[in-house]
């Protein structure tokens, strides 16, 4: 059976998780659409990228600060990459939100589970950057 504390946690999660998911999803979609619109001003660049992908001859490994600077200058590739990062933030953000809630409620078992998932996501990103 659910305890009172667990029911309270579930109620907060059911209220805020959908809001969090939808907000980040919309922001990411807007950034991606904006990037695609910018890309139409560089059609040859896009076609080149498409063929490079077909030949698997690309390594899009700019650092986050580089991406921010280039995106601010209106570089479509950097804007779209930021949009893709924003999309992958969706699960990260909702796990982080759950983690903070469980910390507040001192629900130690679920602090452990969500911390493990968060660590896994971050370690994966770091290992990917190294590999």
């Amino acid at each position: 059976m659910h305890t009172q504390a667990a029911e309270n946690e579930d109620r907060i999660l059911r209220l805020w998780t959908p809001i969090l998911l939808r907000t980040i999803l919309v922001v990411a979609a807007v950034i991606l659409i904006f990037g695609l619109i910018l890309m139409t001003s560089k059609p040859d660049f896009y076609v080149g990228r498409f063929h490079a992908a077909q030949a698997h001859q690309f390594a899009e490994k700019e650092s986050f600060p580089e991406l921010m600077v280039l995106a601010a200058r209106g570089d479509p590739h950097s804007v779209m990459t930021l949009g893709l990062y924003a999309l992958t933030l969706v699960p990260l953000a909702r796990v982080a939100f759950s983690f903070l809630l469980f910390v507040r409620e001192r629900d130690y078992a679920y602090i452990g589970f969500t911390a493990y998932v968060l660590t896994g996501l971050i370690v994966g990103m770091l290992l990917g950057r190294m590999g």
């Binding site: 990411a28 040859d44 969706v90």
Partner: protein
Amino acid sequence: MLEILVGLITLSFGAGLVGALSGLGGGVFIVPALIIAAHMPMAVAVGASLISVVATSAGASVAFVRDGWTNLRVAMVLECATVTGAVVGALLAGIIPAVILEVLFALMMLQSAYFTLSKQDDVLVEHGDPLARRLQLVGDLPDDAGNLAHYETVNLPAGGALMVVAGLMSGLLGIGSGALKVIAMDYYMHIPLKVSSATSNFMIGVTAGAGALVFLARGDVSTAIAAPVALGVTAGALLGSRILPHANVRILRQVFVVILILIAIEMGWRAIQGI
């Protein structure tokens, strides 16, 4: 440029639509669509698919979480297993030859086809095992008469073990592995099918997100492909989820099983040719 862009968005819109109508998610269809129709290498298709799967999972989860179908505690416990598998899978995907990945993909499609045909009625458990009770992996769902039916869960270790495999396949192949996740929850842990499906969909975001982050950080995601694919698949999935309540699900399932088997044969044939 516009022809390529419109082609990619249309292709991914179709994959998202079929993925939502079949209940298997867009990944199972977008990976072969990108490989067969857009002539993309497996690694590029997997990277783009992982990101689009995150988007469709988030889009569909909004309603499922709000309406109470998703069991959030079950998801958070089992995500430990899927994330572990997904990170290992995504790291291995950069090493394992494409031929092996294509064979694995074909096998996963056949497994999804079998799963689609063999869905059975729920067997609810009123008293879960001690571990599941301690973690409060319980819930209520409305039955046909509108009353709330209480359910508890069992076999968490077995379900968790299968979730590691589901995560591994997700990271390797760019799919949500929804069919495996539902089997773990429905068959092993006796979670009602609708709850299993909604919870699986919610978990897919984290599983695919773990793989997507590895691919993005490694520089293995082509933005020129992933951006239009993510938008197309999400739009297709949103439309599919609106059509689904009015569709004849039994006929749709049979059609999709045929499509899955045909794609599995095509992917298997490509793998044989690549050996």
